[in-house]
Each structure stands twice: as structure tokens, then as C-alpha cells.
């Protein structure tokens, strides 16, 4: 549940910061949320990536629907994605997502100390208990 909240917060904060800051504000948003809410590097990457990916892909998708893909088709030949609008939506999401994910991972490394290694065999059992 907390993970979903974190993902939602990354997306929401990305949106708010994006109103004032350049595109890389998604990294700032993911970084900030991860500082407070990430459990480990992988978890951090996951919330950063997913939060930004969902925000960008969903936003781009909505714009594309309203535009009936007039522009995305043209751009998707330029980029080159064979004019595939949905692929362009996904690529947008992934590019933003990777930036978000990496920034969130940084934040996690900043907050956590070198903790003892997990018992890998029981890691997921503990986590979802």
C-alpha cells in the first residue's frame, strides 16, 4: 500500500514541479519521495520509475487521444518509431521513468547506511507479511 502511495506521490509531485521547473523536475520529484519512502535501492527505482512512467505515459496518452494522434504520428516517423503513436507514448514514459527511477535510487543510497545483507531466501516472505 505504501508503495502505491509513493508511486502516486512521485507522479503528483512531478506534475506540480513540472509547472515551474524544466522537464528534469521529474527526477527531483522522484528523488524527494524516495528520500522519505523508499525501502531499498530496487524499491526506490521501482517507485521512481513507475511514478514518472505512469505520469508521462498517461498524460501523453490523454493528449494524444484529444489530438487524434495528428502530431504523434508525424513525430513517430521522425524519431524513428514507424509512425506508431502508442510506441511514442510508451517511449516518452520510459525515458521519463528511467530518469525518475535513477534519481530515486540515488536518494535511497543517500539515506540508507550500509545495512546488513538481507536473508535473500526469506526476503519476499518478510516483505509481504
Amino acid at each position: 500500500m505504501k508503495t502505491f502511495v509513493a508511486i502516486f506521490l512521485v507522479a503528483a509531485l512531478s506534475f506540480v514541479l513540472g509547472q515551474f521547473l524544466p522537464w528534469w523536475s521529474v527526477a527531483v520529484a522522484a528523488f524527494a519521495v524516495s528520500l522519505l519512502m523508499s525501502r531499498n535501492p530496487l524499491h526506490a527505482f521501482l517507485i521512481g520509475f513507475t511514478g514518472v512512467f505512469l505520469f508521462w505515459a498517461a498524460y501523453a496518452f490523454l493528449i494524444d487521444m484529444a489530438n487524434e494522434s495528428i502530431l504523434s504520428r508525424r513525430v513517430a516517423f521522425l524519431l524513428p518509431l514507424q509512425g506508431n503513436s502508442m510506441l511514442l507514448v510508451l517511449v516518452s514514459g520510459v525515458i521519463g521513468g528511467i530518469c525518475g527511477g535513477l534519481a530515486a535510487t540515488c536518494a535511497n543510497f543517500l539515506t540508507t547506511s550500509g545495512r546488513p545483507r538481507y536473508d535473500h531466501q526469506n526476503y519476499y516472505r518478510k516483505k509481504f507479511r
Binding site: W23, P41, Y59, A60, A66, N67, I70, L71, S72, R74
Partner: protein
């Protein structure tokens, strides 16, 4: 804190952000991160198809409220209380829908294309600066701002453009700025002047061929030259109907005593091939029928300027209603006013005059510093203009342009190519002279009758235009208007000696003696870039005239007795190839069938069956055109390539008349063979050669004319954005048919105005009102244009604003 992983991932993150914030490469210059962000990048330019254009907007300096109604084609209908507000609003809508285009075109005009395009544009920029484009615009600006009324209107236009631009955040900038990773720049009156100079260069930049003729002079004798260049065709239908008397000349230029020996004879300066020549087929059609020839008894006027077709178009449709009435038609983003259109009383249209208004003089510099030149027996100082060309993604390039009494030195040891020898050539161009062309359109937009039209166009200097006119009171008229040098025979046909003032222009043809006609007995007037007058006109007027279309227009108008709008519509998209019609019997009679290859014989059959119409599906037209091109090469190539770079190809009409008149001309002979070829030989050789090309096209499934020609309308950034273009359009026609669609060039605006008491008008252009490639209004007129159809234009009245008003934009002070 886990230091090492943190350092590693944070450098990875920052590195990625850095990478995504910078251009990827030459082909894709945008910064991907920002470009793909739905809040910042191209997604922001994806305009919802049901976008609501309603809104209120503030422009500082407005005197009153301005109301703009956008109709369902996104044509703005502007209602303002005073002229200043009217043109501020025009600036606003131009900027709102076309700002990138305006910025790009005026930067290119000023020789600053490299700021957007990078190092590839440096040579283009140099040629612009060496032609003196900014110098020309500065001279124009002085004239434009000298008249306080004009200055107010240009200021208002600039204010409107900049108010819109200032309201945009970078995320809202036009898409192209994001693609190119560059920034917009505010508008100024100088940019309006630069825009008009861009038009002047576009329309007069290749109507002279001084360098080419200088080369031709080296291979042809004087007599030969006169037989193939600047010949008045027998088939000419001049703009001014034959038999119209001309006043005796007000100025008689005197040929210098030395001309025969020093200029026409032995003077053979070394010249280069002129770089960046505008498209020589920048032509147009216009015509006007008086009431005697129309069904309704009211005049009809039509106009279709042929220019490079682009997305967005050079034109923008608009209605301007102010205290002095309404004008409606095509405007040019970059300039206030309606350029081709109509008002409550008259209609007007424009075609290019094609006159030579640019000459070159050979000058001698004292040394490589270029700060002194030899003139009238002594060393005179030049004015050096240091040109700094900023280059995107590269170091800035410096160039020095020397200005002489003639004008800027365009070509010298450092341009166009350091490796090629050339003389120093100074250029004299009427475009350099200060003028206020906008005043013509300001007045035309308000003119009520013939006299006011004549008064309006008198201000027009460069580029020379054929202004056609029709009024509700029943008059039709045409003037070829511009500032044209009064030349002695052959003055400025070649590069001239510039060591003294004896070869300079001695004056200009008095404006009142410009060719004109009013209400001719035949009941119609037309112009289609042909020579304006026959040989009885008392001045020497070289130019790059186009003959075929005007013959075609006159043939058709001659037979019309009760013409209506539908006849005009059909005429605008007429593809009757009269050149082919004239030469087809000669081709068929003289080609030696027995000497043709089997393939060639097959294409000859296609040609024989052809109805000489260049419509989209026609295969005969493809055969004809490739055969004709091959024939022109067979006749002329051996002659004109005797010098390097090659001399100009003679005009097509000259070749046509040669074919009709002479079966044994010396020009048919191929100099590279020992035998003497005649017409039958060249025709046969040409078809045999053409058949290879034809067979290849046929294999590719491109024998039909439109498929072979493959017309396309590109985005302004051309090949960089192929997916932003409309390609493979099924349109017929060619440069010699009334529907003059070549590959990416043709009728850029079509208009028909029927001057009944309630004006009935139709218009179309091959693009859309919104320059944004993310808008459904980007290319929505293209299909209508392809079909040869026009939209019925709705002139709105304030009293019936519900008519067609889809959206309403209010501009407040």
C-alpha cells in the same frame, strides 16, 4: 549513506539528464528529455481536435477593444475601431498561428539561417548578406518610417506580434523551436522590411541572368546570341493588348560611346555560377473579365500566384474590418494588410513582372583589404560592412562586404568559392532603394475606384508586379508596376564594366509610362508572367518571361461569352498543355520511326493517342515531357556546355518556335559528331534516350503524370521533416499549363471574386491556417486544393455576427 553507490548512481542520473537535455545529433537536433515531456515538449503542441479558440487577450497600446471571429476554417474576421488596432490585431493573429514561419523567414532574409540550421546554411547566409539584404531592409525601413501614418501602422503590427510572443512560456513555443532547440526572437519593423525584401529577392532574384549571359557571350556570336536569348516570341500575347498606343518615352538613355568595343564586344569577365538563385518558375496567373463577358454582367477577377508550396503556406487568409470598410483575401504573415484580395468596392490580384532589375558591375579593388576601388580614374574608399554569422553548433563565421557606388560587392576572391577565379562583381538592384511597398496595400485595401487603385500602386517599387483590377462600377484594368531602370539596348544584359560611371543606370522609366491598360474592347485582361508589351514599347526591357500560360489563358477567355464563377474555377485548374499541342504535329511528322528502339516505338504510340492534356492520370504527358526535356538537351547541351560553368538553357518558347519554323537549324547539330544533325535526327535521338527513362518509370509504376511528377508540399524545414509533408499528391499540370503545379511549386493561392452588388468570392490555398503541425488546421485545405475546388468565402458583418462565427477572441487594451 552508501557513498560509492550514491556517487555512482547520482553521476549516472545527472549524466543521463545532461544527455537528454542536449541535441542528439545532426538529424535530430532536439533535446530528447524536454522534447518528450508531456508538460514541456512536443506533446504540448498537440492541439486537441476540438480545441476551444475562444478567449480574451491583452495588448498594451490598443486604443479600443478588438473583436476577432474565427470561422470553421480558422479564418480570422477582425473588427477594429481604428486602423492601428486593426493591424495590431493582424500582427496578433499572424503570430498566433504562424510565428515560427515569420521568425525563420526573416532570419533567412537577413542571412541568419545558420542560427537555426547550423553550418550547412553558412554559404546561403553569406550570399544574402553579400546581396545586401539587411542594407536593403534598412533603406526600406527609413522610407517606411518617414511617413508618420505608415510608421504607426507598422508599429502597431509589431506590437501585436510581440504581445502574443511575450505571452508564451517556452513550453508554449511553436513546435519547431523545440525540434531545433532554438529560441524565438521578438518582432520589429525592420523584420517587416526584411520580409518584404525576402519577397523582392524571391521574385526578382532570378529574373536577370547577367552572369549566365556573360558566359553565353563567350560561346555565341552576337547574331547567334540574339537568335536564342531575350527573343520576343512570335506567339507572345502581351499583357497590354497589341495595338495599345504607348506615349513617347520620357527618358532616352544614351549608350556609352565605348559600349560596342568595351562592353558588347571584347569584355569577357570571368564569372561564377550564381549560387542560391530563386526558383525561376516563381510565376502566377491573373485575369479580369468585364461585365460584357460574364453571365451576370458584373466583372470577375481571378488570381493564382505560383510560389514554392510549403506547410505552412506563405499565405494566410484574413478579413480586416476597420473604420474605412472591409478588406478580405490573402495576407502574408510578416506584413500587415491584405495582399491579394478585395474590398467593398474593388478586387485586385498580382503576378510577377519578371523584369530584370538587377545588374552586375566588374570593379577593381586596390588590394585585398577591399577598402578602396577604382572609379572614375582614382581610388575611391569603399564602405566595409563586417558581417558576423552566428552558427548553431559551430564557431561564428566572419565575412567582409565592400559597398561601392553601385552597391555591395557580391562576388569576389572569397565568395562564392575561394578555389574559383572570379572578378569582383558589385550588384545594383532596385531592391536596394528605399521604398514603402506596404503603402500600396494599405491604400489598395481601401481603394474605391480606378483612380484610387492607380494612386495606390504608384508606391510600389520592387518586386515589379502586374496588378490586375476590377471594380463594382464595372472597370477592369492592369498595370505592370515597379521601379524599372531605363536601359539602352542590352544595358545590363551582361556584367558591365564598373571602372567609371558611364555604364550606371541613367534613370528610371517614369511611373506613368509603365505598361497599363483600362477597359480594352475585348472585355478581358490577363497576365501570366509573359513579356508585358510587344516591340512597340519604347524601352528596352529584358526579363525572364514565360509565354505559354498566357497564350492558354487568352485562348480560353477569348471564347467565353457568358462566363460564370464555375468557368473561372475550371480555368484555374485547366491542364491543357498548349506547348505540346503546338509541337505534337512536328514531333509526329519528323520522328523517324524506323530508327526508334522497340520501347521508344511503344511510347510513340502512347504519345500519338494523347489528347495533350497534362492531367494527373495522363501517360502521354509523361512521354511528352521526358521527350521534350531530352530534346532540349539534344539541341542545346553541346552548345551551352562549351564554357564552364555552362551558359543558360534558352527559354522553352524559343525552342518551341524553332521547332515549328526551322527543320534544319544549325542549333540541331551536335558539335561532338562529325555529321550535321537536323530536326528529324534530334527528335529521334531524343525519344530513344527518353525511352530508357520512361521504361524505368513504367517499371516503378510511375508512368502516369502525377505519379511520375510526384508533387509534394513540404514543411518549411523540408527534408528534415518528411513526415510533416503531404506527398504524392494526385495533381496534374505543369509550369506551362494554367494549373501550374510542378513538383513542389505551383498555385499557392487561388481566388475568384465576382463583383456583384453582394460580392461573391472563392478562395483556397494548399495548406491550412494554423502553422502548427499538431493542429488539424495545419493541412486541412490541401485536399480541396488538389481537387481544384475552392471555398466560398464569407465576408462577415458585425451586424450578423452569428454567421459562421465559431470562436471569438477579444483583444483588450
Amino acid at each position: 549513506m552508501r557513498l560509492l553507490p550514491f556517487i555512482f548512481t547520482s553521476s549516472l542520473t545527472l549524466g543521463l539528464i545532461y544527455l537528454l537535455s542536449n541535441p542528439v545529433g545532426e538529424k535530430i537536433p532536439m533535446a530528447i528529455g524536454g522534447f518528450l515531456s508531456p508538460q514541456h515538449g512536443f506533446w504540448r503542441n498537440a492541439e486537441p481536435v476540438n480545441y476551444d479558440f475562444n478567449g480574451e487577450f491583452r495588448i498594451d497600446g490598443l486604443k479600443d477593444r478588438v473583436e476577432i471571429f474565427l470561422d470553421e476554417r480558422l479564418v480570422p474576421h477582425i473588427f477594429a475601431q481604428n486602423d492601428e488596432d486593426l493591424y495590431a490585431a493582424q500582427g496578433y493573429v499572424h503570430a498566433r498561428f504562424r510565428f515560427f514561419q515569420m521568425d525563420l523567414q526573416t532570419r533567412a532574409a537577413a542571412g541568419r539561417a545558420s542560427e537555426f540550421a547550423g553550418p550547412v546554411a553558412v554559404d546561403f547566409d553569406k550570399s544574402q548578406r553579400r546581396l545586401g539584404m539587411v542594407y536593403a531592409a534598412e533603406n526600406a525601413l527609413v522610407e517606411m518610417e518617414k511617413d508618420p501614418q505608415s510608421k504607426k501602422l507598422y508599429d502597431a503590427y509589431t506590437r501585436g506580434v510581440n504581445a502574443y510572443l511575450a505571452s508564451l512560456s517556452p513550453e508554449e513555443w511553436p513546435l519547431e523551436y523545440k525540434l531545433l532547440n532554438v529560441e524565438p526572437e521578438p518582432w520589429s519593423n525592420l523584420k517587416t522590411a526584411l520580409f518584404l525584401k525576402m519577397m523582392a529577392k524571391m521574385l526578382t532574384g532570378s529574373t536577370d541572368n547577367d552572369l549566365g549571359y556573360t558566359l553565353a557571350k563567350k560561346i555565341f556570336t552576337g547574331a547567334e546570341f540574339d537568335r536564342i536569348y531575350q527573343v520576343i516570341p512570335d506567339s507572345l500575347r502581351p499583357i497590354i493588348p497589341r495595338g495599345t498606343p504607348f506615349a513617347p518615352p520620357g527618358i532616352i538613355p544614351v549608350k556609352p560611346a565605348s559600349a560596342d568595343s568595351m562592353y558588347l564586344g571584347g569584355f569577357l569577365p570571368v564569372v561564377v555560377e550564381e549560387p542560391n538563385r530563386p526558383n525561376p518558375s516563381n510565376g502566377s496567373n491573373n485575369w479580369a473579365l468585364s461585365g460584357s463577358r460574364t453571365q451576370s454582367g458584373a466583372p470577375i477577377l481571378a488570381n493564382d500566384p505560383h510560389l514554392e508550396l510549403s506547410l505552412p503556406s506563405i499565405w494566410f487568409e484574413i478579413q480586416l474590418t476597420g473604420p474605412s470598410g472591409t478588406s478580405y483575401g490573402a495576407s502574408l504573415p510578416g506584413s500587415p494588410f491584405v495582399i491579394s484580395g478585395f474590398n467593398d468596392h474593388i478586387a485586385w490580384g498580382i503576378t510577377n513582372a519578371q523584369r530584370d532589375v538587377k545588374d552586375y558591375y566588374q570593379i577593381t579593388f586596390k588590394d585585398s583589404k577591399k577598402d578602396a576601388w577604382q572609379y572614375n580614374g582614382s581610388w575611391q574608399p569603399t564602405q566595409l560592412r563586417i558581417e558576423e554569422i552566428k552558427v548553431k553548433g559551430g564557431a561564428k563565421v566572419m565575412d567582409t562586404v565592400a559597398y561601392t557606388a553601385f552597391g555591395p560587392v557580391m562576388f569576389d576572391a572569397s565568395f562564392p568559392d575561394k578555389g574559383l577565379p572570379t572578378e569582383n562583381l558589385a550588384v545594383r538592384w532596385t531592391g536596394h532603394d528605399g521604398s514603402n511597398e506596404g503603402l500600396t496595400f494599405y491604400k489598395l485595401n481601401r481603394a474605391k475606384n480606378y483612380d484610387e487603385y492607380v494612386d495606390a500602386i504608384a508606391h510600389f517599387t520592387c518586386p515589379g508586379q502586374n496588378f490586375i483590377f476590377a471594380s463594382k462600377s464595372g472597370d477592369i484594368a492592369i498595370w505592370q508596376q515597379g521601379k524599372f531602370p531605363a536601359r539602352w539596348e542590352k544595358q545590363g544584359l551582361y556584367v558591365m564594366p564598373g571602372a567609371d560611371d558611364s555604364y550606371k543606370w541613367q534613370g528610371f522609366i517614369p511611373q506613368k509610362e509603365n505598361p497599363h491598360a483600362l477597359n480594352p474592347a475585348r472585355g478581358f485582361l490577363e497576365s501570366a508572367n509573359q513579356r508585358p508589351v510587344d516591340a512597340t514599347y519604347p524601352y528596352y526591357i529584358p526579363g525572364s518571361y514565360i509565354t505559354a500560360r498566357s497564350i492558354s489563358i487568352e485562348q480560353k477567355l477569348d471564347t467565353m461569352q457568358k462566363a460564370g464563377v464555375e468557368d473561372m474555377r475550371k480555368l484555374l485548374s485547366n491542364t491543357d498543355n498548349i506547348t505540346a499541342r503546338a509541337v505534337k504535329p512536328v514531333f509526329e511528322k519528323y520522328v523517324r520511326e524506323k530508327q526508334l528502339s522497340e520501347t521508344a516505338r511503344r511510347y510513340l504510340q502512347v504519345f500519338r493517342k494523347w489528347d495533350t492534356h497534362a492531367n494527373a492520370e495522363s501517360e502521354g504527358q509523361t512521354v511528352y515531357q521526358i521527350w521534350m526535356d531530352s530534346l532540349k538537351t539534344a539541341i542545346w547541351q553541346d552548345d551551352i556546355t562549351r564554357v564552364k560553368p555552362k551558359a543558360p538553357m534558352p527559354d522553352e518558347q524559343l525552342t518551341v518556335e524553332l521547332l515549328l519554323r526551322d527543320t534544319a537549324s544549325v542549333f540541331y547539330d551536335d558539335r561532338s559528331t562529325p555529321v550535321r544533325e537536323n530536326l528529324a535526327d534530334v527528335l529521334t535521338t531524343a525519344l530513344n534516350r527518353a525511352s530508357d527513362r520512361l521504361a524505368q518509370s513504367e517499371r516503378e509504376g510511375k508512368l502516369q503524370w502525377a505519379k511520375y511528377k510526384s508533387p509534394a508540399i513540404y514543411h518549411l524545414l523540408k527534408d528534415a521533416l518528411p513526415s510533416f509533408a503531404r506527398r504524392d499528391l494526385p495533381v496534374g499540370g505543369f509550369g506551362n499549363t494554367i494549373n501550374a503545379v510542378t513538383v513542389s511549386h505551383g498555385p499557392s493561392w487561388r481566388m475568384i471574386v465576382h463583383l456583384t452588388s453582394q460580392t461573391e468570392a472563392y478562395a483556397v490555398y494548399p495548406a491550412g491556417q494554423n502553422g502548427n503541425p499538431g493542429s488539424k488546421f495545419y493541412d486541412n485545405f490541401v485536399d480541396t486544393w488538389v481537387k481544384g475546388e475552392l471555398y466560398k468565402v464569407s465576408v462577415m458583418k458585425k451586424t450578423d455576427p452569428e454567421l459562421n462565427q465559431k470562436w471569438r477572441v477579444t483583444l483588450n487594451p
